[in-house]
């Protein structure tokens, strides 16, 4: 009797609008037209959440339990991707206020600090994210190496990862020149001097990179185009392949569990017999 009364109260519009304010919205035609999956509170609903969302296709519907804990991956690859996204967004904002021309580039940097809303703040975000990304990508590589996650069938993904590391370094290096201050100019001068020692090509390699005998307006334009278009496009391409391969090859930690189980079954026949007996 009492429970019947309770249920009746819970079913009233007033109760639901106070304690489940999203319900009415979720029943609306607009919501149902956007979100096509059932509520994710059943196994079917959770699987459908992945199937029906373009952005979630990057994830498998289910992941090994070990991957949910942070120890298996330390989340370093994911953090690198987040940093790349932060760099992409903050970099887009900076592009509105920057012209890659000498000496305008430097004057624009000054204006960015003095006159642009959040200019200095967004530049800070861009710079620290870039440094941190180099560091995190390095750490990610170390983690993958020490946990042996590059082994078959993931050999090719390791190679893609090495490519991404190089691209990260180049992205950071090309961005370093853009402020066109003394720090940028001399760091790039020192860095590109090395290119003069490339076998056979010699100083020609350096000239192609800089567009002239030394760091100047042509180098600034080349580094700008590489930094905002060529290298990010390559990173997006390789990163897509990299993540797609993780998705297809599966998480290394799951294989390790399989391998360990295989080892056990091979080394202790008694356990196997017991398993069979239980079955």
């Amino acid at each position: 009797m009492a429970s019947n009364g309770k249920r009746r109260v819970r079913d009233t519009d007033l109760y639901r609008s106070v304690f489940h304010p999203g319900d009415r919205f979720r029943r609306s035609e607009v919501y149902k037209s956007v979100v096509r999956h059932p509520p994710p509170d059943t196994p079917r609903g959770r699987a459908m959440t992945s199937f029906h969302n373009l952005f979630l296709h990057i994830y498998p519907v289910k992941v090994p339990r070990e991957v949910v804990g942070w120890r298996a991956t330390l989340r370093l690859g994911f953090i690198s991707s987040v940093l790349f996204l932060i760099l992409f967004i903050s970099g887009t904002y900076l592009m509105f206020f920057y012209r890659p021309v000498v000496p305008q580039a430097y004057l624009d940097m000054h204006d960015l600090h003095a006159d642009v809303a959040f200019g200095q703040f967004i530049r800070n975000i861009h710079r620290w994210s870039a440094h941190l990304m180099v560091l995190v990508v390095f750490l990610h590589m170390m983690r993958v190496f020490y946990s042996g996650a590059y082994r078959a069938p993931r050999q090719f993904n390791w190679v893609v990862g090495v490519g991404l590391l190089l691209l990260t370094l180049l992205l950071s290096f090309t961005g370093y020149l853009l402020p066109w201050d003394q720090l940028a100019f001399w760091a790039i001068t020192v860095g590109t001097n090395i290119a003069g020692y490339v076998p056979l090509l010699g100083d020609n390699a350096r000239q192609v990179l800089l567009g002239g005998p030394e760091v100047g307006g042509d180098a600034l334009l080349r580094f700008y185009v590489l930094h905002i278009y060529v290298l990010p496009s390559l990173v997006v391409l390789l990163l897509s392949v990299h993540i797609w391969r993780v998705r297809k090859d599966g998480f290394a930690v799951a294989d390790r569990e399989d391998e360990a189980a295989l080892d056990r079954s091979e080394t202790s026949p008694r356990e196997e017999v017991e398993d069979d007996a239980r079955a």
């Binding site: 339990r65 949910v68 946990s147 042996g148 090495v162 201050d181 940028a184 020692y197």
Partner: protein, 169 residues
């Protein structure tokens, strides 16, 4: 009159290696749904990363020195910190070796690691030689980078970082 029953016929479909059988048996039912278990953790890590970057951006300003001038050489011209190790190496050996051969060979070796690794297991004790080589390379790179970025002053002379730090990020 009842029809004679047909003889049952059997066909061999294939012989399956034992590992596949075992793997199938262990198909991980220990897996959990990506939504919500994995995604929520990713959301938290993404939020924490943004928070760290915001904190850094509020606490420290990105440097902006005077306008670039090819005629005004600074006391020490340093490459960005991640190339400071190479710059340190350049001070000791021929530029062709330090700038091209060493980094080129290191990157080529790094890329080939999975194909060179012929050990049986993934554990460190199964791949002692490779782990030793990799660790040696990583430590060498770390030491060179630290020395180049923190311990070098005017004209690449030795300089203690607590006396004067010639490092700009």
């Amino acid at each position: 009159m009842p029809e004679p029953e047909e003889e049952p016929r059997y066909r061999l479909l294939g012989v399956v290696p034992r590992e596949i059988e075992v793997r199938k048996k262990q198909e991980p039912d220990d897996a959990v749904f990506t939504w919500p278990h994995f995604l929520i953790r990713h959301a938290v890590v993404a939020g924490a990363t943004v928070a760290v970057i915001f904190a850094l951006a509020i606490a420290f300003d990105a440097p902006l020195q005077s306008m670039a001038d090819a005629n005004r050489t600074p006391p020490v011209a340093k490459a960005p910190w991640y190339f400071a190790g190479l710059q340190e190496l350049l001070a000791h050996v021929h530029p062709m070796v330090a700038g091209i051969l060493v980094p080129g060979a290191a990157v080529a070796w790094l890329a080939l690691i999975p194909y060179l690794d012929r050990s049986r297991g993934w554990r460190i004790r199964d791949r002692k030689l490779l782990v030793t080589l990799f660790t040696a390379l990583a430590v060498a790179a770390l030491v060179l980078t630290l020395v180049g970025s923190l311990f070098r002053g005017p004209e690449w002379s030795w300089s203690w970082p607590w006396q004067h730090l010639y490092l700009e990020l």
